[in-house]
């Protein structure tokens, strides 16, 4: 693509377009930060409203909402341990503990910078290699997606501090919950106990908000007298402190961004899976894996870079193939069609200036996220100075209404409360909760793709697996890496599994 192509979009950036971009990004960040309001909801509500705008203004505004919401989820994840959007679920692992240490500023700053840089990386790769990325995305068939999900699942046992065994039990329990509903291949209902609302499975957002957000508030309500604000804890330090850590994070950010772009580009995955895989890889290559999950900066940077890089990846597939890369881009198609445009490779020929404007707009949106995030981080954290009884009640109401809003279902609120009680009991029994959420996301993806691969193999499983070395090299490489990371620690003297066991026994004595 020529240089003119990249600059062609500039002329579309009139003042109103810039204003709508800013508006969209701000709306996105706020929506992302509110638990229960997801990027998907925001974009789908705003699509019809953009009808009156010019195509450029409308689409850039929606992209602002999309990217902004993806980032905004990290704010509530850090401050109150509730992932504002599902893709921020991994950010709670380290963001919240770091915030509890009184370094909420550092946590939000890191999330901001990592998000922005991940996003910028994805825009640049999208603009330069869109057709190439699209072709790579098409190489990810069932076996490859299964391999990615399996890789994510293997960190279940180690994801939270504490007993590995209990982490695994929690994870397998989550995988089993993921089985509820129609079986992906034969549509036989499983474990629904005759309840119609369970046919399509447990609503993931409801379960996540229950396990994390609501359970956290239940735990806090145990001792009402202690429910005082601890201002010294939330004194906002300079969020720019994160720049000091940036030096150590380049490799991490680059790796996570590449993961984000690829996972985002593969249809049928999305930001949440990108964040999990980014975190899992970081945990496996980290020099200090034990520190992750206890407030490590690298544990915030990895998932945030990955989930924002995912936006660019998903958009790449949309623009170069006409296939949505994730759930939000599926709705974005509606915005394109509404303006008489068909997303797909033809767009590069019919409306090159618009495509160019999308690239430029995405870049500017990421810059905006960094600027807004770093400047306003301190105000976000001020929220925590609201007296706890009030703050917690408002969060409770937000969780209830937000969960209802995902698909206008009262049943989902019930689901959320059940998972909140479950989360509370698990916290009391010192069983890690994170593996359940991880398993709920990855389990169905893993099963669906495994079963599909088995169908494709038509009973010749071993032959197909042997053949896969030549036909699906990517999948076999991912599977090999997964196997290695599982087996290697067993042969090391201070393997993580043994350490986990030791920790488990020590933990039990407390």
């Amino acid at each position: 693509m020529s240089f003119e192509f990249y600059t062609a979009g500039w002329q579309l950036f009139t003042l109103p377009v810039l204003a709508y971009m800013l508006l969209g990004t701000v709306i996105g960040i706020i929506i992302g930060a509110l638990p229960g309001l997801t990027a998907m909801m925001a974009v789908s509500v705003l699509v019809p409203l953009t009808y009156t705008l010019s195509p450029t203004a409308g689409i850039i505004m929606l992209l602002g909402v999309y990217c902004g919401a993806n980032y905004g989820g990290s704010i509530s994840a850090t401050l109150v341990n509730i992932p504002g959007t599902p893709s921020a679920v991994m950010t709670t692992m380290d963001g919240y503990p770091l915030g509890q240490k009184g370094k909420a500023g550092l946590a939000i700053g890191t999330a901001t910078v990592a998000s922005g840089l991940g996003g910028i990386f994805s825009v640049v790769t999208m603009a330069m290699f869109a057709p190439l990325i699209a072709n790579i995305a098409l190489k990810f068939t069932s076996l490859e997606i299964f391999a990615i999900a399996l890789f994510g699942v293997t960190i279940m046992g180690y994801i939270s501090p504490g007993s590995v065994l209990k982490g695994l039990i929690s994870g397998v329990f989550g995988l089993l919950i993921g089985c509820i509903g129609f079986d992906p291949t034969t549509a036989v209902p499983r474990f629904t106990f005759g309840e119609q609302n369970l046919l399509s499975g447990v609503q993931f957002v409801a379960a996540m908000i229950g396990l994390f957000g609501l359970a956290e508030i239940l735990l806090a309500s145990e001792k009402i007298k202690d429910l005082q604000t601890r201002p010294e804890l939330f004194k906002m330090q300079n969020p720019l402190e994160c720049l000091k850590y940036l030096r150590t994070l380049w490799g991490n950010l680059l790796r996570s961004s590449v993961i984000g772009v690829i996972v985002g580009a593969v249809p049928g995955t999305g930001g949440t899976i990108a964040a999990i895989v980014g975190y899992a890889v970081q945990k496996k290559v980290s020099k200090n894996p034990e520190g992750m999950g206890k407030g490590a900066v690298e544990g915030i940077a990895a998932p945030e870079a990955a989930n924002n890089a995912c936006c660019g990846g998903a958009l790449t597939t949309l623009l170069s193939l006409g296939i949505p890369g994730d759930a939000v881009t599926a709705i974005l198609i509606g915005a394109f069609v509404l303006h008489g445009l068909t997303p797909g490779p033809m767009l590069f020929e019919s409306n090159p200036d618009l495509v160019s404007a999308i690239f430029i707009g995405m870049f500017l949106i990421q810059m905006l996220i960094i600027a807004l995030g770093l400047n306003f981080a301190q105000y976000f954290a001020k929220l925590l100075l609201v007296p706890r009884p009030i703050l917690n009640t408002i969060i409770l109401a937000l969780c209830v209404v937000g969960t209802y809003g995902v698909q206008n279902s009262i049943f989902d609120i019930g689901t959320m409360i059940v998972f909140a009680v479950l989360g509370y009991v698990m916290a009391k029994a010192s069983i890690p909760r994170a593996p359940i959420v991880l398993a709920l996301i990855l389990g169905p993806v893993m099963e669906e793709n495994l079963r599909r691969w088995l169908s494709l193999a038509e009973g010749h499983v071993l032959e197909s697996l042997a053949g896969a070395f030549t036909t699906n090299p990517i999948a076999m490489a991912i599977l090999a890496i997964t196997a290695l990371t599982l087996v290697l620690p067993l042969f090391q003297k201070s393997g993580r599994l043994n350490e986990g066991m030791a920790e488990h026994i020590v933990g039990g004595k407390k």
Partner: protein
């Protein structure tokens, strides 16, 4: 002191409740619509059905002189939305949009009371077509059929007993081929991605859903399964032209609860007819490449009845439990 406060609180509460209730309550305007009409969409936002409904709504609002609110209810593959409609009051205040997927629900183990559904109007009639990868070895339908009879091809579908599963089953029966059916429960986009990546050999799906991938030359349509050619691929012959007498119409229409008064149905029918002619809807249809087809209450009811019989037979034929 605290008593006064409680009273104050109660009063404010009542005022708030009254304000909110007042917004919903109507004055003594015509009998229909009474307040907001709810339009149930059994899919998530952004899908084909969702866009169709949202394009119909502006003109319907004007025509009905009232508000029409789209509500996405995707839980349990639309089963919840369907039972919502079935149990609603028969006053036409709740509408429901779906394709023949509605008639297929009972076969997929979903408990839906179809007798509670009153067809109001059909708005779209699309068709299935035989789509293969652009570089597939078969250039014509004949070559394809010969190959398919001799080899077990892999066909993608969108779930056991769902729409694109039946279209594939119908084709298999017509050409006496044995397919390996692979499920892609997320639907059309997922099926087409798998086809473009070469994981499966064919899809029996609508050309409208595959427009982007056909236009970009990744996929190719061998034949369309309708009486007339399709706007997205005007150069592709119909099955009939090629000597294979098979059609698979894919219709989408609007339902309400059975027992709704005739006058209300007539009002709705008229509003929907105007909406199908509105610029919002025709533009959407043109951009997405789906053919508009309007059928009124009586015609559509008869058509739905025929379709129900057809699927009963098809299901019995293939012994899909």
């Amino acid at each position: 002191m605290s008593g006064t406060r409680k009273m104050l609180c109660l009063v404010m509460l009542l005022v708030f409740a009254a304000v909110v209730a007042g917004c919903g309550g109507g004055s003594d305007k015509p009998k229909y619509p009474q307040g907001d009409v709810t339009f149930l969409i059994p899919q998530g936002p952004g899908g084909g059905n969702d866009m169709t409904v949202r394009a119909l709504i502006p003109a319907m609002k004007k025509e009905l002189n009232g508000n029409v609110v789209p509500v996405n209810k995707a839980e349990a593959r639309g089963a919840v939305a369907a039972s919502d409609l079935a149990s609603a009051k028969p006053d036409g205040q709740k509408l429901y949009f779906n394709s023949q997927s509605l008639l297929l629900m009972p076969y997929a183990g979903v408990d839906v009371k179809l007798e509670k559904f009153q067809p109001v109007a059909q708005v779209v009639e699309d068709t299935a077509s035989i789509i293969v990868k652009a570089d597939a070895p078969w250039k014509t339908l004949d070559e394809f059929i010969k190959y398919a009879q001799a080899n077990k091809l892999k066909v993608a579908h969108n779930g056991n007993g769902a729409l694109w599963h039946l279209s594939a089953l119908q084709l298999a029966k017509a050409i006496k081929a044995d397919f390996n059916y692979i499920a892609y429960p997320s639907g059309g986009a997922q099926m087409l991605t798998a086809l473009a990546s070469g994981e499966v050999d064919l899809c029996v799906i609508s050309p409208s859903e595959s427009k982007a991938l056909i236009d970009s030359g990744r996929l190719r349509v061998l034949a369309v399964m309708s009486d007339t050619r399709h706007a997205v691929v005007p150069n592709v012959p119909t099955c009939k032209e090629l000597g294979l007498d098979q059609t698979f119409p894919v219709w989408r229409g609007i339902f309400t609860t059975a027992g709704t008064p005739k006058e209300t149905l007539a009002l709705l029918e008229k509003a929907i007819k105007t909406a199908t002619e509105s610029p919002e809807f025709t533009t959407l249809a043109k951009n997405n490449g789906f053919p508009i087809k309007f059928r009124g209450v009586n015609e559509f009811s008869a058509f739905v009845k025929d379709e129900t019989e057809k699927y009963k037979k098809l299901m019995a034929d293939i012994k899909l439990k």
